[in-house]
Symmetry: C2
Subunit: 231 residues, 2 copies
DNA sequence: GTCTATAGTTCGATAGAC
DNA sequence: GTCTATCGAACTATAGAC
């Protein structure tokens, strides 16, 4: 335990090298599009070593996913605690605290871009039950805390609306965190999806107003689309 | 030409059967997670017939993707024309016209759910250049028309903001069009991501307010985060 | 812990009969 | 247009030496 912690401070172990290579390739090409051979080559080790450390491809994916998700979520929760300690939270602060750790996660300036966000979305939408379970195990507790904070920052928001709002923020921002050049093309160069500060700023403005509108809409009298008669 | 159109009206050809099977399986498991063998079995034909009709797996994917995308976008554009003909558009109408055709596309009530939305997102975020090119070829022209309409419905929106707004609407809604039960879980059963009308209604409220806020934010004096000095 | 070698399976694609 | 049969390459995982 102590030795392991000391070693991790000194230099990357082969286990870390494998996890780094796996994260890079899985994020880029997805679970099914990445082979154990490629990961081993990228990490500079024999393929059998991957199985020694992680048993199966699925085991390696889970270890890789948990490592980065834990880092993202501990950062998210630390920032949220700070915001809540300071008094009544502003919704813009909460959204920024939710998005920025993911944008910065695994953001290797030398390489492609922030592709772990893509991995979160595809893992959550996977047809493999174990991948969806991984999302639940890694993100649900953090999500509940943020949903509660959103409800606190925007009075009048029901739990249902706060949940949808949380999901919309995630979907809107994470979908475009891996730059594809599409924003550049569609705007004739007026903006760029490689500009992460623009993405965060616009997404925060967009989502904060969206959340307030969900609360305002719920406060209006009369039936509401999609409520299926629960009112 | 005439004969082909007549035949397509009469009954599904083996080509259609293959495209149907491919759409179902690709949408469920992705390009790399689906094999030609599985598609052939699902379609009830020999695997060699897939290569006879579409040459390669990539060719089959492209044909499948184009067929459904064309259907979605012609529906989107027809609705948009209708809205624009009626005078000054309301932003809520535009968002509904943008989202509903995708939600209904390939929505087989007998089976899983509206999973083509997932395929659109993963195809656009793919590391394969030919998949991103497929998105550009299928969706950019439609997107430009909607971005222009959004700018018309929300005065004060720059092309850059309208583009980001369009991308946020797509990301927020399409990410959650394939039900996973996550909304149900996070809200303790207060809402459900299987309820498509709730999704559309909430997403429309959320996004309409978000777009108006982007315009209002741009109108405020002073520098703005992420503009990198272009102001 | 790390390697080489390979077993056993599945894949995309093609050849060739009908 | 549709089939059976199969090639050659890639895959995950394991055995066993060091």
């Amino acid at each position: 335990m102590v030795a392991a912690a000391a070693a991790s401070r000194v230099r990357a172990t082969s286990k870390d090298d494998i996890l780094d290579a796996a994260e890079q390739l899985f994020a880029l090409r997805g679970f099914d599009g990445t082979s154990m051979r490629e990961i081993a080559e990228e990490a500079g080790v024999a393929q059998a070593l991957l199985h020694y450390h992680f048993r199966t491809k699925e085991g390696l994916f889970e270890a890789m996913f948990q490592r980065r998700s834990d880092a993202i979520n501990s950062s998210r929760l630390a920032r949220l605690d700070q915001i809540l300690d300071a008094g009544t939270p502003r919704i813009e602060e909460i959204i920024d605290a939710l998005l920025r750790p993911t944008l910065e996660a695994g953001h290797d300036p030398a390489r492609g871009g922030a592709t772990f966000a893509r991995l979160i979305l595809t893992t959550g939408a996977s047809s493999h039950a174990w991948q969806r379970a991984l999302i639940a195990a890694s993100y649900d507790a953090m999500a509940r805390r943020y949903i509660a904070a959103i409800g606190k920052a925007v009075p009048g928001l029901s739990l249902a609306d706060a949940t949808w709002g949380y999901l919309f923020v995630i979907g809107a921002a994470l979908t475009h965190m891996s730059p594809t050049g599409r924003a550049d093309r569609l705007s004739d160069g007026e903006t760029s999806d490689s500009d992460t500060e623009t993405l965060i700023a616009r997404a925060t403005t967009f989502a904060a107003a969206g959340l307030r509108a969900l609360a305002a809409d719920a406060a209006r009298p009369g039936p509401r689309a999609g409520d299926g008669g629960h009112a």
